[in-house]
Symmetry: C2
Subunit: 155 residues, 2 copies
DNA sequence: ACCGGTTAGTTCAAATTAAAACCACGTTAT
DNA sequence: ATAACGTGGTTTTAATTTGAACTAACCGGT
């Protein structure tokens, strides 16, 4: 395997990626906190539930979709439940499992922050890319994501 | 301002970006912990010092380059110092300032971990992109990063 | 029915992080 | 000088995150 230093182009791509994701994360976090007092993690939980059938998911599915660890998810869902945005329910078909379900209040909280969230994505990512670039960018990042998932699951 | 939902292409780009950065972060974190027992944050501190003149930087410069908050940096540098990878020194020209300097042991720790780190970047990012794509990808992410820095500094 | 191996989810302790308050020093203008 | 303001860095406290250990329940084969 090649073990030389990265070339300037490689380094530029890697550092740019790192920086962009870092800054984007900060910006998303800032907006969500400002507009709705929620963290990005909480937002991802809420939006995942919102998108799901019956607006509910089992904890483990929720963890997979949001890429949040089990213990972290337990904590976050407990917080959300405490604020009334999510409700936990037992699962009939599997007594180990737990449903996390979006409440009406949770849907409202989500509606409150979504416009600003979109705005952040548009202002900082979409607006910087031409339609063709956007298409290609989507290909590239998804290719990378697929690769990473592969290698992770092979573990 | 447009406030419609994101288009499928926009969504795909955004979610792919989010997923890729999330997974990449995990993978980098995993490798650094496995090969050298360090976190990504600590690695970024060490590598920044390694690259700097005289292998040292003032805390505030270090914070800027690594995008680590002041208080977090204080904590991390204290940890690194505790393990002997970094040393703190007073700054003559400004008595408020503090130099963080890479020790020989710190350089060794870095050397220990760098090959695996490069491998992770190559295996998951570089290898997925053709040379032309890499070039363009670098352009795009740096454009996004620049945009985010602009808006942040305008705050 | 029962054993061993998984899976779902929570709990616990320890480590890390965020955010605000704080101290000391530098800078500028009066 | 000195007041007012900004910068560099640390401290403090509370919140969050991690990772391992743990409980309960499912599943396949005997």
């Amino acid at each position: 395997m090649n073990n030389d230093a990265l070339s300037p182009s490689e380094l530029r791509a890697w550092l740019g990626f790192l920086t962009a994701s870092h800054l984007m994360e900060h910006e998303v976090e800032r907006q969500l906190k400002a507009d709705g007092g929620m963290s990005h993690g909480e937002f991802e939980i809420l939006i995942s539930l919102f998108m799901a059938d019956d607006r509910r998911l089992r904890m483990s599915d929720l963890a997979r979709r949001t890429m949040i660890s089990k213990s972290r998810l337990t904590y976050q869902v407990t917080q959300l439940e405490r604020h009334g945005l999510v409700r936990r329910t037992d699962c009939d078909s599997d007594r180990r499992a737990v449903w996390a379900e979006l409440t009406a209040k949770g849907a409202d909280a989500l509606a409150m922050v979504r416009p600003g969230h979109r705005q952040v994505v548009r202002d900082n990512l979409i607006s910087q890319l031409s339609p063709e670039e956007l298409e290609l960018f989507g290909d590239l990042v998804n290719r990378v994501a697929d690769r990473l998932r592969e290698r992770r699951d092979a573990r």
